[in-house]
Amino acid sequence: MEKLGVPTTPLVTRAFKDLAILNVAKRGMPHERITFTPHPVYGKPPEQLRAYVEGNDPVSGKPMMKEIVDALTVPLTDEEKKTGMVRVASGPAKFGPDTPANLQQYYHDNGMTDYLPIIVPTEEAVAEMLAGTSHKPDEPVGKMAAAAGAYPPWEYTVKQVAINAVMAGCRPEYFPVLLAMASSGQTSLSSSTNSFASAAIINGPIRDKLQMNYGIGALGPFAQPNATIGRAWLLISKNLANGGIPGDTYMGSLGNNLNYNNLIIAENEAASPWAPFHVQKGFKAEENVVSLFRGLGIVPGQGARFTSTDTPKYEEQFSDLFNVFTGLFGGLVVADPLIAQSLKERGYDTKEKLIDWLHKNTVQSVKDYKGRNFANGFDYPRALKGLEPYATWYKMPDDAMIPHWPRASDINIVVTGGQTNAFFQSANLSYSVSISIDKWM
């Protein structure tokens, strides 16, 4: 609005003070006149909100409405009229020299780690990592924002990715996977108060070359590549995108334990009766591909209905858990091969056939849909823009039934695990992109 010549004051709740002040500066308006209110305003009765309005700005201590009026009327200072470019530094190229222990503590204290022990990224260690790719160290890899659209993106090179890969404990042969992930520009963290989680599915022969675990305990801490590739994605998201700074670029109220090393899934292609995930996305089976997801997290399937029946109808169990997921993100079923084989025997000979059933049979009433928190924040404003199916859904009667997700493609299936029992987990995660790993070898 300011760019259009309209004097504006953002009205921000107290909890977002640092984020607001820093973000307007990063976007070129360091003196933007922000007015603050107590936090939260959500769920407060009108009389409480009126007291906020008639009370003081909790940051300045001055009457809030005077702050608003002044923000719009008091003439600009010379600083507020400034133009030009400001260069921003991210520190020296090296830290030290010092002992590895002291350096490690320095990385922790400056928010560059996950606060677990790291490998100090010496020039020698980074050179070894760089040997894992044919790409030059100074080649640009991509840009990543702490949250897409909310913060200006940072840039990074092959070498900068390598530094983070070393810190995470990756081996050089894992490096092309990380470069592919980094080239996506997709952060594993984001900044939402929801405390987002991320996942990556890895397909192709590289799973065996790296000795990734897709057998017993596939999602657990039982293999170096599974563990450290996911951890490196976190460090990349923190360091290369300036993400994960609580109060500035991270606002997740509870945080998310999956953020430590993300949900890394090597698909058990040999034991699955269906096409591998990357083949579904148009790649050849012999290609190495990483596919990224983001959303809220993952839950065990044991809580779904019908788990004790003699002839399990797994599709109904999947659907049962989907019903409690937010429509803000899609559904990802992570199924043991035993489940996939059972479903195939019952007629679901492709993932697509199963997904189609799930999309048609996971439904909700319009009344329930409108009552969901995300619908008001995301779908209703889309309906206001005339976007479908939201515009139609918001015109339908309350008792009409609509799909839980707009598209069948909002649902995905991946097969992994050691076949010790027929279990699954269900994730509220949306597929975003698949990237060739081979291009980064």
Binding site: P10, V53, D109, T122, I245, G377
Partner: protein
């Protein structure tokens, strides 16, 4: 961390710890000084900086202020954060009670939180004089 807005650009330019480190809300440990005091007998090494490259900042001049709101139209923009709309309606009520010469227009922005609404922006530019935009829960 206490943010001094007067110095914020120099802070962004000169202090990487501000971008990489703690905030007042997070109550993280304060960044240590650059290391260099190794204990005797331990081998010293150098560690590379894992941070990416931030973009340069293009300073944007703010819009001229109005001097007074008398007879002006102020748009109250609900960006969709829960509770923001109700707070703006209370602000609208305050203007009616305390500054009745100010015309207020309440609008819900189309599109999710951070998404632009060009039609509304044009309306405000054409018909309004100032805006208050509610952000946060």
């Amino acid at each position: 961390m206490k943010i001094n807005r007067r110095n914020i650009l120099s802070m962004l330019g000169m202090t990487p710890a501000l971008l990489a480190g703690a905030s007042a809300e997070a109550q993280q440990a304060k960044p240590h000084a650059q290391p260099g005091k190794a204990s005797a007998g331990h081998a010293k090494v150098e560690g590379l900086n894992p941070k990416g490259t931030p973009p340069a900042i293009q300073l944007i001049p703010m819009a001229p202020r109005l001097g007074s709101l008398d007879g002006k139209t102020v748009y109250l923009i609900d960006t969709g954060f829960p509770g923001g709309g109700l707070l703006l309606l209370e602000i609208q009520g305050w203007f009616k009670r305390n500054m009745p010469s100010v015309n207020t227009v309440f609008k819900r922005k189309a599109g999710p939180y951070a998404e632009d609404d060009p039609e509304l922006w044009k309306e405000i530019k054409d018909k309004g004089h100032a805006a208050i935009m509610a952000i946060g829960h």
